[in-house]
């Protein structure tokens, strides 16, 4: 079956500010964060821990509401979570009581699609992530990498405008992480959706993305937005090329500076 039509997903984040807590203990996570993506673009968000990367994703997902500014996806302001903005979490987010197939079918079931149609679509996406034959397994029976592949299939089956990925490979070992990055690029070539990918792994960000956004220390905003001019498809060896190295050096310098800053208490 055909997996998807043309690319969708224009994400417009404008002057986003998010603060948590009450007035006297207010923590500003994000300040004046602005980012526009073109449909079908792969953008990596990179930054020191605690800089609010995940908060940006949560705002696009609709899990948290902006204090100021706005998030618009395909012309519609985000007010609540929805299947058009599926999220792949770092780990343990599959429904343990559902089989692999039922996990992937979940979004289709929520849309009221009949069981037969659900199953055939879910199977197609399981094939896409290389998990044909594991339909009846429960998540606890799968390895971490396989669980993340189910998580990706479960989001993509809804044909979202944007797939939000919150350090999806952060809990995997280095070997598996590499394999998953290549798999993700393969899948993304088939199902061309916009991807917002949060990571603190510089290699991962450059290897995957069209553009890498480096965030400042908290309150997070975009410090620099760098296009990655490596041709696709990208073989794993691309990380040893001079172009890759040059970009990595540039990103690394910025990230290190921001990490250093993250340890200094901001003056109030």
């Amino acid at each position: 079956m055909a997996l998807n039509g043309g690319p969708t997903g224009r994400v417009e984040i404008t002057d986003l500010g998010i603060a948590f807590g009450s007035a006297d203990r207010r923590v500003e996570a994000i300040r004046r964060f602005t980012l526009m993506t073109t449909p079908g673009e792969f953008v990596a968000l990179l930054g020191p821990s605690g800089c609010g990367k995940t908060t940006v994703l949560n705002a696009v997902a609709g899990f948290v509401q902006p204090t100021v500014g706005r998030v618009v996806v395909d012309g519609e302001a985000v007010t609540q979570p929805g299947a058009d903005r599926g999220m792949v979490f770092q780990q343990h987010s599959l429904f343990p009581w559902k089989t692999v197939l039922a996990n992937v079918e979940f979004g289709l079931k929520m849309r009221g699609i009949g069981p037969k149609e659900r199953t055939s679509q879910a199977r197609a996406y399981l094939n896409l992530v290389g998990l044909a034959g594991f339909e009846r397994a429960y998540p606890a029976e799968l390895s971490g990498g396989m669980q993340q592949r189910v998580g990706i299939a479960r989001v993509l089956v809804n044909r979202p405008c944007v797939m939000l990925m919150d350090e999806p490979f952060g809990a995997l070992d280095a070997q598996t992480r590499l394999a998953m990055q290549e798999l993700l690029l393969g899948v993304w070539r088939e199902v061309r959706t916009t991807v917002l990918f949060v990571t603190h792994d510089i290699d991962e960000a450059i290897f995957l993305a069209d553009r890498v956004a480096v965030m400042t220390a908290r309150p997070g905003q975009i410090r620099d937005l760098m296009p990655v001019k490596l041709t696709r498809p990208r073989p794993a060896e691309v990380i040893a090329t001079p172009e890759f190295m040059a970009l990595k050096a540039r990103v690394l310098a910025q990230v290190r500076e921001e990490s250093g800053r993250a340890w200094i208490e901001p003056r109030l």
Partner: protein
């Protein structure tokens, strides 16, 4: 050469030790029960009296003879059925109330503020202490005993259900909403199955407590039931019947707990079967 000769021997001895291992634990367990029965027999045979007195305690043989007689007559089954009916009714009512209220309290703050305080207030009172009030409250002996049984099972069920609902991983709820689930779907697809292991634990504990309450209530006020039977046996000096009554209670309690566990495992196929190795 030595390895060539040694290898099959090692394999064979490994197989033998595996066979021995598979026999050893059941054998040990049977031996343990056997030793207990022997000690009991010896104590009653010699009418041991060392502060603890065995003169009036029936021997295992007496108990076995009494049991054979009782189980051959229809009279004893009336008591068993009366107890089983009360347990079943009380437990069913407690399950409906406990799970229902627990889900509400765990899910909605308003329900927690309005329903939970009285539960917390009444929980520390042992169900047996309710017997006098229960006799006054309920028109029949049967309904008052069922009430006590319900009360005993209710608290563990409601508390474990609340605990289960409150322990649901927030990330799973978020995942569900970002896949298009609304409030009703989250309740059905995430909260209910997520709380199920804890609910089953509550049912299992509740079943045990409801047996304790049932037997106590039957001993205090009743005309039927295994608890009544056991107490009356003491009154009419039929000592072997006491022990038959006790053992019957034990076996029925064990079987009903096993039933809960079996149904629970059936409802939750995603939980790994518990490995007993070394346990």
């Amino acid at each position: 050469m030595a390895t060539l000769v040694g290898a099959p021997a090692t394999l064979a001895s490994a197989a033998v030790s595996a066979r021995v291992a598979s026999w050893r634990r059941p054998a040990l367990r049977s031996l343990s029960i056997g030793l207990f029965l022997l000690a009991w027999h010896v104590a009653t045979w010699w009418d041991l009296d060392f502060y603890v007195r065995f003169q009036n305690i029936p021997s295992p043989g007496d108990v076995l003879a009494e049991a054979m007689e009782l189980f051959a007559s229809p009279g004893f089954y009336v008591h068993i059925l009366a107890s089983l009916e009360r347990i079943w009714l009380g437990f069913a009512i407690a399950t409906v109330l406990g799970v229902g209220l627990g889900l509400l309290i765990g899910r909605f703050r308003f329900a927690e503020d309005t329903l939970f305080p009285p539960i917390e207030l009444f929980r520390p009172i042992p169900a047996v202490a309710w017997v006098p009030i229960s006799i006054m409250l309920w028109p029949t002996e049967r309904s008052s005993i069922v009430f006590i049984t319900t009360l005993g099972a209710f608290f563990p069920i409601v508390l474990n259900t609340i605990h289960g609902v409150e322990g649901i991983d927030r990330q799973l709820v978020r995942a569900a909403t970002s896949l298009g689930a609304g409030r009703a779907a989250i309740f059905r697809e995430v909260v209910l199955p997520g709380a199920l292991p804890s609910i089953v634990t509550g049912l299992s504990v509740g079943m045990g407590v409801s047996w304790i309450c049932l037997i106590s209530a039957e001993m205090i006020s009743g005309q039927f039931g295994v608890g009544y039977f056991t107490w009356v046996a003491y009154g009419i000096v039929k000592y072997p019947q006491i022990v038959v009554g006790m053992l019957t209670i034990g076996v029925l309690g064990m079987l009903s707990s096993a039933l809960i566990r079996w149904v629970g495992a059936r409802c939750m196929p995603w939980l790994p079967r518990r490995e007993k190795a070394g346990a």
